[in-house]
Subunit: 340 residues, 2 copies
């Protein structure tokens, strides 16, 4: 069977079923932002890994080595943030084409290290090898959390308010700007706004401190980071919590930069928000009685909707018109289907 018939999440589910083993040490395994592992009586270990592949996740025509290093660390730190944990250690594996220079690898690690240091995370090991294929980066980050603070994707409850920690869609719009600038010589969108969108794409900021504060407040029920796009990541929460969601489209925060650049872009802002991904803001749900406490944390919080008992995802526009919202973030294997 072609993998494209299963899709990425179908494949992950198949792997999960094939490899499932009961272990009292695994508090949460495959299917969340990070695994939660019991390593001592008091502390739980968080473990997450992400691979970035040239030609799939990045194009060296659009990203410099410093930013690539930065981003490789950031996307993994963001997974620890999404659990509410504290990142501690990091392992990096690089598969390097022979065309790269030592200086380029050094730039990569300068960016990588800047991100790690900002979050007090120590590089403790890894692997290096030569590649005939392209540049491949695989990063693992280990973190810590007290078991009772863990925020999985599975805890959302009907009536919960849905929050995001910042403007969405900038990263995907930034990539669009980069591509347009590079590939379409007649349409150079190089305004300040466009520069900020590019910056959001190349140098995402993982919300580690905010995720930690949200977890410590014990005010949220479920949390995820927005890596695949709002529709897809909200879909993970709904699926794993066995709930639905109603999103007010006009409450979704858009940055001034995205609004300014919008006329020059191929898609509408909401398309970048819903299916673009790579924003790395946090998405979480919380019951009404905890909202005041959460608002006191000093974190930007945007309420964008509500968790529903009916297991569908809907958006509602300013005139009250509801439309179905299907999870349509990037799926690695559906995207490679020839039928699409």
């Amino acid at each position: 069977m072609k993998i494209s018939r299963l899709g990425e999440f179908g494949l992950i589910e198949k792997i999960r079923k094939m490899t499932s083993q009961r272990s009292s040490s695994v508090i949460a395994g495959i299917g969340d932002d990070a695994a939660v592992l019991k390593v001592s009586a008091s502390a739980s270990l968080l473990a997450t890994t992400d691979m970035l592949i040239e030609g799939v996740h990045f194009d060296l025509a659009y990203i410099d080595y410093y930013s690539l290093g930065w981003k490789s660390a950031a996307v993994n730190l963001s997974d620890i943030a999404a659990m509410g944990g504290v990142p501690r250690f990091c392992l990096s594996s690089l598969c390097i084409p022979h065309t790269l220079t030592v200086e380029q690898i050094a730039d990569f690690y300068r960016g990588f290290n800047a991100m790690l240091r900002a979050h007090r995370t120590t590089l403790v090991g890894g692997d290096t090898c030569s590649s005939r294929l392209g540049f491949v980066v695989s990063v693992t980050v280990l973190g810590e959390i007290r078991k009772e603070l863990v925020l999985t994707r599975g805890g959302a409850k009907p009536g919960d308010k849905i929050f995001v920690t910042g403007a969405l869609g900038d990263s995907a719009a930034g990539l669009e700007v980069l591509k347009n600038r590079v590939t379409r010589s007649g349409k150079k969108v190089v305004t300040e706004a466009a520069k900020r969108l590019i910056e959001k794409h190349l140098r995402p900021i993982p919300r580690v401190t905010w995720g930690r504060k949200i977890a410590l407040s014990q005010g949220a029920h479920a949390m995820i980071d927005i890596s695949d796009g709002l529709s897809s990541d909200l879909g993970h929460i709904c699926e794993q919590s066995h709930v639905g969601a109603l999103i007010s489209a006009e409450k979704i925060p858009l940055s001034p930069s995205l609004q300014i650049a919008a006329p020059y872009l191929d898609a509408a802002p909401l398309d970048y928000v819903l299916s673009g991904g790579e924003d790395y803001e946090l998405l979480f749900t919380a019951p009404l009685e905890k909202v005041r406490k959460l608002r006191s944390l000093g974190i930007p919080l945007y309420e964008i909707g509500e968790i529903t008992r009916t297991r569908t995802m809907l958006t509602v526009d300013g005139r009250g018109k509801k439309s179905p919202l299907s999870a349509r973030g990037y799926d690695h294997f559906l995207n490679m289907s020839e039928n699409k």
Copy 2:
């Protein structure tokens, strides 16, 4: 500067220097088989990662998906074994070309899981993505060990006896057999011996239980697994322990299979031993007074030489003739130098 001027270990050293951060939680960082991390008062965490790339580490013309899965897990478990630890958890990232079928991925995970289950290690997470480049596997294994039992590469002392836990060279000879059989139609070496060499190459057995017993005995000073070839891996022990070594060439254990197949192979058995790698036997050093205790553990032990104060590596043949032994295992970046 071209990476080939630094070589793999020069590059790792550069990365280590660039990223070094003092942290009281890092007992051993970059430069050993696994990092040793303090996560609670009593237990240390071991963390290791290895990437396997199509066209670099494996060729799908020679290896089936089940064996590839098996081997991807085994090489990481072997790194935990080399520290004396107990493997616990595993993360796997797969970058999958769209030509692969669901059945092939399932075969991969059947092999992967068989190896994990044999060592009571649980798959707890990972990443999957599509590849336009080739098949890429990245595995991280986490293990546990009491801090005082950790066996690094850096503890060897002059006068220590050098041991290996089994016959060397089989895996590299097995790959040679596979290549010959596939690429040279006139020379089909398909004897039972050749089959066993192939088996050693495709389905290596990590010495987890033995590594653990050696660590628990507190009889050894330094340990490593043989992944790059005896010369290279012994070289790591010598370098990090600031010592040299004298190896008796005729004491190196060779399997009956390798001896039987030797006349059909391109290189001499000792070449496969010294620079072939992928045997995944353990190499360790121990003081004379601990040898009896180690021999009582019920592990195959072959004494092959002695650690010396003089910081050179030498081999001595049956007639007492000494020759310099240079580390000449596989170096990813020296091997891609055009000058070689």
